[in-house]
């Protein structure tokens, strides 16, 4: 364990390299803006920036993309408090107490505690990430192809079941993603599959094209055109109020710590995400508070708890991706796509083969989390102004960046056309309540899963029972089976009992 902290220290020093620091600051500022802009979430932000970021040096690219993700958690709170408009889904609970506080003339105090909570939540999340990522990665080294295949099946099932209320549509989306991942030359036999005679598809579809289309364009298409926020309703504050106040921090210690810990552990679970973690943390803080009645009317604890949770969750969310190579959310799937694009395969071996890269990235997270405190304080007026930016001004800029970014991947207009197609597909799926996260995970994990299953079956002469020879795989597959069947059996049993009772 001490070894990990030593490596982290070296990582923080390595992350102080000017190139990486530029990436971190650039990503943090973009993330803050994305977080503050209603209609664009962190997954869209990371996806839009992906084609540009991969042109940086590899480590700086991932440091920048990571900074967009955790920066967005800081930005969402600003518009939530000042205008009552959550910048992204994870800031919804911040509105509940943050906006009433702002209306009572305590906007600066609410913003200050949200920044402190984001920092403490981020710091606790990072410490837990440092501890758990290495431990889980070390344990996962014992996993062979059979066990990893079983874990991948479990993660995909978990995301599909937990990520949506309609499991049928989740699995359809997942299978569509796996099919998209099959496009190109067969990984074992080398024959073209589903390329429709198009040579440009032989190498498969570049992940960033799909991510930009499905997350970036589709999210924009499906966002309602709202008139810009009324600036006159914006609460006033002074810069002096934004400075951390120790009396407020002392008052919020319990929700700060409970929110950070809850956020982290809920964030680890695939398919849950930062929004749900902030809701759970808020409910817990309210239930355990001596001042329950104040929640919802404008209390600092009600701001501290969800803000600590959503920041901590963003780091918890990275554990399955870094330690197992299995992303648990849309944003980490795009991050993993970035890692694959720069030639790195996330998973336990990443810690063994590329320790410098891993610890430099973790070091950049620590620097970014600290830097965001100052950047957020300085950028509060700009972030508040973002909420009043009309889609008519914002969308042309986003589309300009998207088109140039996608074109620059391989200087191909065919890629731009594919992005438009995926944007339309994503829009239709979103409108019909098909969750897009399983689709994106299917594209990332589908090829790995197919290769794992086929190689295992080739080595066992097509004998499927080989998956039952590993106790770990048996337990994981049994968990998957129970995850898919038990809730439905319970519901069926309850329904039958209710009918017979009547």
């Amino acid at each position: 364990m001490f070894e990990a902290w030593g490596l982290l220290f070296n990582g923080i020093i390595a992350a102080s390299d000017p190139t990486i620091l530029t990436g971190v600051f650039f990503g943090a500022i973009v993330g803050l803006l994305i977080g503050a802009l209603p209609g664009l979430g962190p997954s869209a932000g990371v996806a839009i920036l992906l084609p540009i970021a991969v042109t940086f040096d590899g480590t700086a690219a991932i440091a920048a993309l990571g900074a967009v993700y955790y920066g967005a958690q800081y930005g969402g709170a600003v518009t939530a408090i000042l205008l009552g408009i959550p910048g992204d889904a994870s800031a919804v609970m911040t509105v509940v107490d943050g906006y009433p506080l702002a209306k009572r003339g305590k906007a600066g105090q609410a913003l200050s505690i949200s920044i402190v909570a984001s920092f403490i939540g981020g710091l606790i999340g990072l410490v837990l990430l440092t501890i758990f990522a290495t431990t889980i990665a070390r344990a996962a080294l014992a996993f062979g192809p059979i066990e990893m295949t079983a874990v991948m099946i479990f993660a995909l099932a978990l995301v599909s079941v937990l990520g949506s209320t309609d499991w049928i549509k989740s699995f359809i989306a997942l299978f569509l993603g796996v099919w998209i991942g099959m496009i190109g030359l067969d990984p074992i036999l080398g024959m073209p599959r589903y390329t429709f005679g198009e040579v440009m598809l032989f190498e498969g579809i570049d992940f960033s094209i799909l991510a930009v289309g499905i997350f970036g364009l589709a999210e924009m298409f499906a966002s309602p055109i709202v008139s810009s926020a009324d600036k006159s309703k914006m609460a006033r504050f002074s810069f002096r109020d934004l400075m951390p106040n120790f009396r407020d921090i002392k008052q919020c210690l319990n929700p700060l710590f409970s929110g950070s810990v809850i956020g982290f552990f809920v964030g680890i679970l695939p398919g849950i995400g930062a929004a749900a973690s902030s809701m759970i943390a808020y409910a817990f803080a309210k239930r355990t508070s001596k001042n329950k009645e104040a929640y919802g009317t404008g209390t600092l604890e009600g701001v501290a708890s969800p803000e600590a949770a959503n920041n901590s969750a963003s780091y918890g969310n990275m554990i399955p991706m870094f330690a197992l190579g299995i992303p648990g959310s849309g944003t980490t799937a795009v991050l993993m796509g970035g890692l694959l694009m720069i030639g790195l395969q996330p998973g336990p071996l990443l810690f063994e083969n590329q320790p410098e890269f891993v610890w430099t990235i973790f070091g950049s997270f620590y620097i970014g989390n600290l830097a965001l405190v100052a950047i957020t304080i300085l950028m509060v007026p700009l972030l508040a102004a973002c909420a009043s930016l009309r889609p008519g001004y914002l969308y042309p800029i986003v589309i300009g960046v998207v088109i140039f970014g996608v074109y620059s991947i391989s200087y191909s207009m065919f890629d731009v056309a594919l992005t438009v197609l995926f944007g339309l597909v994503g829009y239709v799926l979103t409108r019909l309540n098909y969750p897009v996260v399983p689709l994106v995970l299917g594209v990332i994990l589908g090829p790995l899963l197919e290769r794992g299953i086929r190689r295992t079956l080739v080595s066992s002469d097509g004998d499927l029972s080989v998956f039952l020879h590993s106790p770990i795989a048996v337990v994981v597959l049994a968990l998957t089976l129970s995850l898919l069947t038990v809730p439905r059996l319970i519901r069926h049993f309850n329904l039958t009992r209710a009918i017979s009772d009547n």
């Binding site: 359809i172 599959r193 055109i225 140039f404 197919e450 066992s460």
Partner: protein, 148 residues
């Protein structure tokens, strides 16, 4: 207004057909070969899954009379116009280059999503102009991208 229930039914039927297409292609790739499993092994299972689950979804929507709400025709028109404008950009960039085309595209997108007011257009033009300049500086000058 477009009733999403009918769109859901139509998409489910399309997906059933698409799943069957994936399976038939998978059969052509071969379910198994001498090594054990062929290139069509995975497509057959995945295509079968898409077809079967889409059929279940179709029946669920029909039987339960599910209401998914509606969407405004204006929203669909906006999405179609935006996509058409982006495809138009691809065509135009081969004739006048990417820089001029992106400026035209951004103005078109602004017009699609913005209000019909003189003040809006007065602001839109410089915003698109400055963004075009930034795109040129970042992608051509800084990143060295080979623009058309």
């Amino acid at each position: 207004m477009i009733i999403l229930r009918y769109v859901d039914l139509a998409v489910s039927l399309l997906l059933v057909a698409f799943g069957i297409y994936i399976v038939t292609q998978g059969l052509a790739f071969g379910y198994s070969d001498r090594s054990g499993v062929g290139a069509g092994f995975f497509p057959i299972w995945i295509g079968g899954g898409i077809a079967a689950l889409s059929a279940v979804n179709f029946l669920k929507v029909v039987r339960n009379n599910l209401h998914l709400g509606t969407i405004e025709i204006s929203e669909v028109v906006r999405v179609v116009f935006t996509s058409a404008a982006m495809l138009g950009f691809i065509y135009l960039s081969h004739h006048v280059g990417m820089i001029a085309s992106i400026l035209v595209l951004m103005l078109a997108i602004g017009a699609i999503y913005g209000p019909r007011s003189k003040v809006f257009y007065l602001w839109l033009l410089p915003i698109c102009g400055v963004t075009t300049l930034f795109l040129y500086l970042i992608f051509r000058v800084l990143l060295g991208a080979l623009l058309i």
